[in-house]
Subunit: 468 residues, 2 copies
């Protein structure tokens, strides 16, 4: 039966699946062009490849049924969270069905004593933190966008708090996933640690929907600190900013956020957020702890900064002042975008060992200057992770080519420094071409795992691993 | 060719491999009975199943050659670190070759600015910390024994510091492994984070030598805190001790160690280490931070403890006083062993959500009392992880049966509380029988991964996954 179906033309199989889904789910299946395009339209410069249909799922059991149907007809499935990924993760190069998780948005449990919670995959990070507001707990992982927890786990997302609280790799205690054979796997129990068998949680975190479809997750939470203090500090040089952070981390200072903005990004933020920050390499900082402890850390940090060419600190302790400061940082992407009206923002990231960060940023800035590109830099400096937002006139073929060459060089530089082609954005389709240079023989292991867990290549095909 | 060889008898293949290895490596291959037995003799009550030979390897390249040879002849390979595992991990039920890593004991690099180091798999944790002594950095993962880093990674070990510094899951940045086809995989780069592809690091950490043979590792290090303060505090009840720790963690206190010893374990420690501790549920604590910060945390913690029936604290700040205190904790295993002379110590561990820990420990103690067993309890209370050391007269068949029933009940109880059958000891052969109850459909995923990465089942066969 399966063999017969496989011999049918792709579109016949796809049409049959869409018909069947519509019979079962009615209005929760959409084939409207606008809806399909929106579900492949991520914040990327890659061309949009829409799915054949979008299904608004409501339960794990429903996902199981859809997976079984799509497996039988060899129709691709692309899970969709909030559509904020950056490397064409949601494209449907072979058509198929986009599974929209926006209706699976329940916080199922909060266990205050265990500092964890259980959520459906479609809950967004802001929604979760709103839900937690009265518990004294919070969920720290904060990519720029209000992404869904399922999408953040699938792409191994992180954000500004990672240096203290970790990334999605650290945040997910266990997850429920529907596998390609329709089985439902819960990857671990709710205990904080376990050494009972292979780590399926971490295998699925970062697999971008190519190995299993995440429907529920248990997340680690953290206590809201008694005192939060924010600051901005300009530096004479990129090296000075980097050395300050390296020393602070070595001394065990527990800052939650060490964010770096280069002079160009500061200029963009000044315009966009109406600020008057000095146009220099700048650190945005956040201290978490007891009142006495943050005061002590502020003092130590100020001394380290002064030793490394740091200028005058601007402090914010009241919530509204802190929010205004961090809003500028969180708006950095939009500030960059509007800094060159009409241009396409090509957002990329790499991550290197912290000791190489200053060198990597400076060489990248030299490369930007030499190429004539406009490209602000903003980074999670404590992790060695930074973003470049290249603002490109897509009608200028030569500029597009320059930008592409710049991106390739950026990745080559990061890899030469023992870094990675992406610290937090993921591979998607856009970074597939760098995977062999990064992983060598590891690619064969990834391919073997993909082939055995998704033998018909229906889970988000064309992403993460090139099947050769 | 491969098919022909597979049809040969097992022992002919094994003998051919041993002959070939001896021709290549000379005295670094041993078939002496004492050496073979010692290499399967772990701290377990499971019968010893020695390998056919022990090879003292010296390089990754050599491991590649051995893997290729053993694959061709379908001969099992069992990696050996320090032989301190607890669940028969090193047994050779189908014979084969034990790879002893004691000669791969080089610290290859320490990157102080990046807080990481690169080591060969045979480096032990104490050796590494001795090496780091003058750097201001340390490696925090501390299972009781002086295990090798390779073995600790393979079993996803942890220890007393995990609540603050994490387990081997968090400590390993990347590792080099020889796969069953002889390829050498480096699982990640040296950057702190990455979202570039499947997480092969975490797939291999905890895989107990069944998926690949770990030869090198890059580890996260931490700065030695300015101030370390240790304390011991008795409690009126197990609940009081647990509630104290839960509240402290919720309040964000950054203690490195929250260790629990029950009244029986305290009695054993008093005898073994010549102490005069009150025979009550007791916490051993360690505060890390700046001098001002640890003082502040001590004050807060003391208040929480007093609210929960905590008695008088005994403090230690000087290194020698701290060491004396912690020596008693680290000697707990030997204290337990000698508490009933002549008995076999059956050491096991489970881990549950912290909110269920008091209930789990109390029910376990009631079970111990009802069964008449002598079994001290010691636990990493901040993680919800505890050990029971059942002291069993192995010549008394009824007592052995009682102990076996007790172990099964302990695991059932932990699983019913959303816990795991092992928090840090691993599966080995001893806990294989609990894996299905714990993982359900996840077992099929583990089996599929094992079969695709080790198609001839030569890597530590009979451990972690039952191939069905």
């Amino acid at each position: 039966m399966a063999a017969l179906i496989a011999e049918q033309s792709q579109s016949a199989g796809h049409a049959a699946v869409v018909d069947e889904l519509r019979a079962q789910l009615g209005e929760r299946v959409s084939t409207a062009e606008a809806v399909r395009e929106q579900h492949a339209n991520t914040l990327t410069w890659l061309p949009v490849q829409p799915p054949d249909a979008v299904v608004f799922v409501e339960s794990t059991a429903e996902v199981v049924d859809i997976v079984k149907l799509c497996t039988a007809h060899r129709v691709p499935i692309i899970p969709f969270g909030a559509g904020t990924s950056l490397e064409g993760h949601l494209n449907a190069p072979h058509g198929g069905v986009s599974l929209d998780f926006s209706r699976m948005d329940k916080v199922l449990a909060v266990h205050q004593e265990d500092l964890d919670c259980v959520v459906q995959a479609g809950v967004t990070r802001k929604q979760l933190n709103d839900h937690l507001r009265d518990t004294g707990l919070f969920f720290p992982v904060d990519p720029g966008a209000d992404a869904t927890i399922g999408g953040m786990a699938a792409t191994r997302a992180s954000g500004t708090n990672a240096v203290r609280y970790g990334t999605m790799r650290d945040a997910v205690l266990n997850l429920t996933a529907v596998m390609a054979d329709g089985s439902v796997v819960k990857t671990a129990r709710r205990a904080r640690k376990s050494s009972a068998g292979y780590d399926l949680t971490h295998l699925l975190v970062g697999s971008e929907g190519t190995l299993g479809i995440i429907t529920e997750l248990t997340l680690r939470l953290h206590g809201v600190p008694e005192s939060i203090l924010s600051a901005v500090c300009p530096f004479e040089s990129v090296e000075g900013a980097c050395d300050t952070v390296i020393t602070a981390i070595q001394m065990g200072l527990g800052l939650a956020r060490y964010e770096f903005l280069d002079d160009v990004q500061i200029a963009a933020c000044n315009v966009h957020s109406g600020l008057e920050l000095k146009q220099a390499p700048t650190l945005f900082l956040e201290f978490h702890g007891t009142a006495a402890h943050t005061r002590e850390e502020v003092e130590t940090f100020s001394e380290i900064a002064a030793d490394n060419g740091g200028g005058e600190f601007q402090w914010a302790e009241r919530t509204e002042d802190r929010n205004r400061l961090w809003e500028a940082r969180h708006e950095a992407y939009w500030a960059a975008r509007t800094y060159r009206p009409g241009a396409q923002a090509i957002v990329t990231d790499v991550c290197v060992p912290v000791s190489r960060l200053a060198e990597c940023v400076c060489e990248t800035k030299a490369d930007i200057d030499a190429s004539g590109l406009v490209a602000p830099i903003v980074g999670h400096i404590g992790d060695g992770n930074f973003h470049v937002v290249a603002l490109v006139d897509m009608d200028d073929a030569k500029e597009v080519e320059t930008a592409q060459r710049f991106l390739d060089t950026l990745v080559e530089r990061a890899l030469a420094m023992e870094g990675t082609c992406t610290g937090e954005h993921g591979v998607g389709a856009g970074k597939l071409k760098y995977m062999h240079a990064e992983h060598g023989a590891g690619i064969d292991v990834m391919r073997a795992i993909k082939k055995t867990l998704d033998p018909h290549n229906i889970f988000n095909p064309g992403k993460v691993v090139d099947l050769g």
